[in-house]
Symmetry: C2
Subunit: 246 residues, 2 copies
Amino acid sequence: MEQRRVERRSGVALWRQIADRIRQDISAGLGDENGRMPTEMALAERFGVNRHTVRTAIQALVQEGVLRAEQGRGTFIQRQRRFAYPIGPRTRLSEGLAGQAHERRSHMLGHAYEQATPEVAKALEIDVGAPVLRLETLSEADARPISRARSYFDAERFRGFERHFIETGSITAAYRAFGVEDYLRRSTAISARHAGSDDLEHLQLSPGAIVLVALGLNIDGDGRPIQYSETRFSADRVELQVSMPD
Amino acid sequence: MEQRRVERRSGVALWRQIADRIRQDISAGLGDENGRMPTEMALAERFGVNRHTVRTAIQALVQEGVLRAEQGRGTFIQRQRRFAYPIGPRTRLSEGLAGQAHERRSHMLGHAYEQATPEVAKALEIDVGAPVLRLETLSEADARPISRARSYFDAERFRGFERHFIETGSITAAYRAFGVEDYLRRSTAISARHAGSDDLEHLQLSPGAIVLVALGLNIDGDGRPIQYSETRFSADRVELQVSMPD
DNA sequence: CAGATTTGTATATTGCTATAGACAACTATA
DNA sequence: TATAGTTGTCTATAGCAATATACAAATCTG
């Protein structure tokens, strides 16, 4: 196993690097069967730092709900593996996590009718300044926030979309109210960056965490663009699974 | 434009957060036509920090080759947009960046014959402990390192693969020497994490930078797995473009 | 219960991070 | 050439990050 050490004088505090590494290792499925972590002394030696530095990292993860420390006993893993989020022609949030999570839901944080920016207009193939509906949503699985999305719809065609979404809690169902029986994912651009303050709040991340950003375009049965969205996933809780059709 | 502010007491130094934000904005194509950045005072005000803190961030980006500071004149953008790296059934590195870069090449950092770990064995559908070839490669475009890959091949079938790769500099060409005329990308799992020390060195990143990690499996015309690889991309220089076949 | 192991708390010290103010060096321009 | 605007250097100070040492508190095991 490659033993990546922590980087000093990098602008990223050692305790944060260690916290990120531990969180990552847990997501990858490491840790013994009881969910017990190595002792603070063992971790300190492994990372080549003082015990208190490890403690600071552990405290951050306890705060986050990833670990649980018990005096005299040890430190234990509170949460487990990453969800695999499939991306393909039929990307659907609701079906995506089936079998991996017991309970999943989406809810709307807000919506607004706005004028299309050049970026949005180009994606939706409408005029710059044309009215669009912006939908801000948050998705959860097993009571853990998974993704935070901002979607744009052509307001001419989908005016009132947000009400159907609120009622049903499903994009697919809301589309049906507008006569869209089927839709496909045409393209997805994936990048990554540090979580912003909005992500920190809604995805319950701690500063310095990484988010995967997926810019996607959905099209209807006739190939017309219907939804342009930016979805941010917690990189510690989700991996994107790109599978090709046969 | 949302004005995400910097986070204090986060374990990530302000100068690093600012450097990351600026790098990110540049990658997204911001900046005026001359490539001139706002003044240090303007940036300090925008981020709500002292001018010296901005200077530290700029110095890091100058070191990285992203910015260029000229006394008395201003600070200028040295490098431009992100490469879009396509991921699809026919993912090929060599073709991927066509049209975006003038010059691109791959070279081998090293290779080794090893025993398959459970993870590798499962992917390649061989027995645990069976001999595999591990290939460490680095890809560049326009003299900038783009990706760092670790690939595994079934050594029974592809013994000597590394020599063909060295000769031709192309995976596709090396396959041909083993009678593999065509191959497909079956699946890709994408995640993100902070760059490790190996990434820092080969991808010429500064500590705290983010890498996109793509775990991919290639299959031959008969559907047999032939290559299992982990590729790490600099998140500042590359975005992964997932496009669906029609 | 006694001892070993492990997490929790306290204090002190050193170095890095961020701020503040002043001024030098360089460039462009009126 | 004088002035304004911009980056570069210097010094000083306060707070956070990391280390070091010691000991308390809780748990487990013989």
